[in-house]
C-alpha cells in the first residue's frame, strides 16, 4: 500500500513535469490525484494542523482513507493520538475504528504548502463502485480552528475531470483530478 502510493506519487510528479500529452499517452490506469494546500497563517504559536483525507460515499460512509497527518511523537504504539478526535467528522466516520498508526495512511504533520496524494492502488480503487462520492479533507489546528472541505465527484469518469474547492481558513485549495 505504502509502496504503491509512493510509486504513484513519483509517477504523477514525473509525468506532470513532462506535460499533459505524455500523461495521456503513458497513463492507462485510472486513478485519483489530490492536492491539499496547507495555508500560511499569520498567527503566533503556530502548530501544523492535523489533517485527514478520505473518500466517502453518498451516505457519508468512508470507503477509503487516503491520509491522516498527526503528531507522531513517542515510541509507544498509538502515541500522539490524543487529539485525533478533533478531526471530528473523520473520527466519527472512521478514525475511532482504526488502530493508529495505519500503514500507508498515517504520516507526520505537514508544513505550509501544497501536498500531493494519489489513489491508484487496485485495492483502493476496487472499493469504488460506480456512483457519487466526495473527497473530504478535514483539518484541525492546536489553538486554531477546524475546517472541512468536501469535493463531490462521480466515479468512474469517462473523461478526465478536475475539481477544486478552497477552504476559508485552515485549508487552502483542495484539488481533485479523476483520471479515467
Amino acid at each position: 500500500m505504502n509502496k504503491n502510493r509512493l510509486f504513484g506519487a513519483c509517477v504523477a510528479v514525473t509525468l506532470s513535469l513532462l506535460g499533459n500529452g505524455v500523461i495521456l499517452a503513458a497513463e492507462a490506469a485510472e486513478k485519483l490525484e489530490v492536492t491539499v494546500e496547507i495555508p500560511q497563517l499569520n498567527v503566533g504559536g503556530y502548530h501544523r494542523p492535523y489533517v485527514a483525507v478520505w473518500v466517502q460515499d453518498a451516505d457519508a460512509k468512508v470507503v477509503q482513507n487516503v491520509a491522516v497527518w498527526y503528531q507522531l511523537k513517542g515510541k509507544k504504539k498509538g502515541s500522539g493520538t490524543k487529539w485525533l478526535p478533533d478531526l471530528r467528522q473523520w473520527w466519527r466516520r472512521s478514525g475511532r475504528e482504526l488502530e493508529m498508526p495505519v500503514d500507508g495512511i498515517s504520516g507526520a504533520t505537514r508544513p505550509v504548502g501544497k501536498h500531493e496524494l494519489t489513489i491508484d492502488s487496485k485495492a483502493a480503487l476496487a472499493q469504488l463502485k460506480p456512483g457519487q462520492y466526495a473527497l473530504v479533507v478535514e483539518a484541525a489546528r492546536e489553538h486554531g480552528g477546524r475546517e472541512l472541505v468536501k469535493v463531490p465527484f462521480s466515479w468512474p469518469a469517462t473523461a478526465e475531470q478536475s475539481y477544486a474547492v478552497s477552504g476559508e481558513k485552515e485549508l487552502g485549495e483542495v484539488t481533485l483530478t479523476v483520471r479515467p
Binding site: K76, W83, R92, R96
Partner: protein
Amino acid sequence: MLRSTLTSLLFVSLFSLTAVAHNVWLLPSQTVLSGEDPWITVDAAVSNDLFYFNHFPLSLDNLQIVAPDGAQVEAANQATGKYRSVFDLQLQQQGTYRIAVLNHGLFGSWNENGESRRWRGTPESFAKEVPSDAQDLRVSESVGRVETFVTNGAPNEVALKPTGKGIELIAVTHPNDLFAGEKSRFRFLVDGKPAAGLKVQVIRGETRYRNSPEATHLTTDAEGEFSVTWDEPGMYWLETSTQDEKTTIPQAQSRRLSYAATLEVLPQ
C-alpha cells in the same frame, strides 16, 4: 467519614424532597477520547440550572463506573467541595464507560407516643431502625440513577446493558454518537421492561445565557422509545421520573423512580 455521611444524608433528603425543583447531574470533561489511557475528570452536582455549581454537591458514595468490558472500576481523586463533587477516571480500556451515581432509599414517617417521627434509610436498615409496631407508618421508596457516558476509541455497548433495576436508558443511538442536526433514538426501561408514557425532558446546558430553559418535552411510545433531534451542539441533560407501587419491602406504599443523564452532542 462524618462529613461524607452528613453529605450523603443531606443529598438523600434533597434528592427525595426537591427532586422536581433541582437538577442532578454528572458533567464529564470530555466524552469522546483517544490515545494512550486518557484521563477525564467529572463534576457531580445538584443545581437549579445547567450546568452550574451553585447549590449542592452530589454525593459520590454510590458512584458506580462500568468499564467497556463490563467490570466495575474505581474513580480516582474523589473529593467533595461546597458546591460540587469531583473525581477523575483513567480510560484504560477501549470502548464506552457508563458512569453513574445510584440512589436507593426509603423514607418513613410514623407516630410514636403522639409525636411524629421521620426516618431515612435503606431496605437493609429498615427492620433494624423502624419499630415493627410503628403507628400510622408511611414508607416510600426512591430509586434514582444519574449517569453519563464516555468513550475511548470506538463505542461499544457492554457497559450499557441494563441492570434491570429502576429506570434505565437503552441506546438505540449510541450516547456517544450524538450530533447536531441529527435525530437520536432511545428507549426507557423500568426494571428492565420497556416503559411507555414516560414524560421526558431534555435541556441544553448554558442556561445562564438565555431567558428560558428551552426544555424539550417528549413522551415514550408503546415500546418505551422516543426520539430527540438536537438543534445545537452542547451538553444536554435528559431527565424522566415516574412512580409505581412495586416496592422492595411490603411496608412501603409507593416507589419513586428517577433518571437523569448528561449527553454530549457534537457539532457536525
